[in-house]
Subunit: 217 residues, 2 copies
């Protein structure tokens, strides 16, 4: 289900959004405007990869229904590894959106204006805390067994909560971008084409993913 | 927390969105266009009232921290009453958005184009099923005790899931409407005014509400 969502979002970015790129493109207008949208496009790709693919795997790693007989040591490594991969994606995805605003010419775009950005920041803060507390308690310096056992339910509850907030950020982010496109470049017929339909299918799939992951907790 | 969100959304609809109304308003243009936005405005008000206020209370009613000593019979009534109130609000809120599209002149607006509408429909379907199964099993014709006990954990899990999907619909709906306004009538300075800031504060509050409600499950 993670992979299905990733394929849909990837296809959405590649075709209706015209793919990703690292550098702003000058579009040849004499007024010196440029186009940072391919840089922005890394943002949905990396956020989806981080939260929907890696973090979902991380949350499932202790209960993975796919490989039942895995020893607990290996599961711990998968949980940690997936979380670290997710953290890297989220960090880069965050840099991508900030830079796509900063590098915009002739004027930089403003930041932190949208409900999505407020929710995104909330999710990043919750996940960040969870990673810091997780590393501190379970990896280094590592708490004693009784403290770790007391932490278990709290770590689980806040972990699930942070991840759900992040899925909400994914949903609002897709909606925001779709409405931007709808108001700028789409015709009325395009409303029923892939630019809108791919994310429209992704949102219910996020619900299915949340159900599957939380059911296996 | 529910009430804080309701006040913020209510204020948002009343001031930057110019309030609610039942009838489309002709705006005096000779081409026969009209304005159904005050009819549309019932949609966010009723959806917030239904899902954020009544349904949150319904989910808390078995564990309500406010009134600890309540007998279980009374709690059942509160749970059922709040759910029925929520169902009425959601139904009317749904009619409001459909009618605001239908009654638009000179052409009706299209339906089901946005990711928000797909997610909204998913949430309505889940909640609707939950209400039907709930009424069938617990009220009429009412299952035997052993069946009801077996149903308990399922009812809880799907109830929480349906409600979280509905909160996602609230979040994407607010984001969609904000981006519509941003692209139509807002100036760059308005991005940091109440039309955008009120919903931007509501989204993190929805996360807080979800935490509070799920923590008390
Ligand atoms: C990199 C930092 C992290 C470390 C070292 C870590 C470590 C652990 C450990 C040792 C457990 C097993 C707890 C137990 O069974 O009592 C666990 C479980 C869990 N962790 Fe993490 N964690 C980290 C980050 C996160 C993050 C960021 C999230 C969510 C966003 C998360 C969500 C969970 C969940 C939901 C479980 C419960 C799994 C289950 O029982 O099925 N963790 N984590
Ligand atoms: C596929 C998913 C996503 C899409 C399409 C998307 C889309 C957008 C858009 C259009 C913006 C720029 C407008 C604005 O400032 O609000 C933005 C900014 C932002 N996004 Fe996303 N987003 C996605 C996922 C996420 C996720 C999962 C998070 C975090 C958990 C996130 C966090 C942010 C933040 C914090 C900003 C604000 C940056 C700033 O204002 O400088 N986004 N996103
Ligand atoms: C109107 C139809 C409904 C009826 C008659 C009903 C009935 C009940 C009953 C009898 C319980 C107690 C179960 C137990 O303790 O084993 C319960 C609990 C619960 N219901 Fe409903 N329910 C209905 C609709 C819903 C809906 C629509 C939702 C969510 C969207 C929901 C969510 C919950 C939750 C989360 C609990 C667990 C409460 C707790 O243990 O703290 N219910 N419901
Ligand atoms: C405050 C919260 C909300 C706001 C601001 C809002 C906003 C909107 C907007 C702008 C539309 C019209 C565009 C479209 O068709 O997508 C819409 C339609 C819709 N909304 Fe909401 N919404 C909110 C809450 C909800 C909730 C909680 C649900 C359901 C659980 C929901 C379900 C729907 C549905 C199903 C449509 C599609 C109707 C159609 O396409 O004919 N909305 N909403
Ligand atoms: O249902 C809709 O609401 C907004 C807005 O115009 C209503 O005022 C819009 O564009 C829709 O399609």
């Amino acid at each position: 289900c993670s992979l299905a969502i990733m394929v849909l979002v990837g296809h959405w970015v590649r075709v209706p959004l015209h793919g990703v790129g690292i550098k702003p493109e000058t579009n040849g207008y004499p007024d010196g405007t440029n186009d940072t949208s391919k840089l922005f496009n890394w943002h949905p790709v990396l956020m989806t990869l981080g939260f929907v693919v890696f973090m979902a795997e991380a949350l499932l790693s202790y209960q993975a229904p796919i490989i039942p007989g895995l020893p607990r040591e290996v599961r711990k490594r998968i949980h940690l590894g997936c979380h670290l991969a997710a953290t890297v994606c989220v960090f880069l995805g965050f840099v991508a959106v900030l830079q796509s605003h900063r590098l915009k010419l002739p004027d930089p775009m403003p930041d932190w204006y949208s409900p999505h950005s407020f929710l995104g920041l909330t999710a990043i803060a919750l996940v960040g805390l969870q990673v810091l507390v997780g590393l501190y308690s379970y990896v280094w310096p590592r708490l004693g067994l009784s403290h770790r056992m007391a932490l278990g339910p709290l770590h689980r509850f806040w972990g699930a909560a942070a991840w759900l907030a992040a899925l909400g950020a994914v949903a609002t982010g897709l909606q925001e971008k779709v409405t931007f496109m709808q108001m700028k470049t789409l015709t009325r017929k395009d409303l029923f084409g892939p630019a809108v339909r791919l994310p429209a299918v992704v949102l219910p799939l996020l619900v299915v993913l949340a159900l599957l992951v939380l059911y296996h907790q």
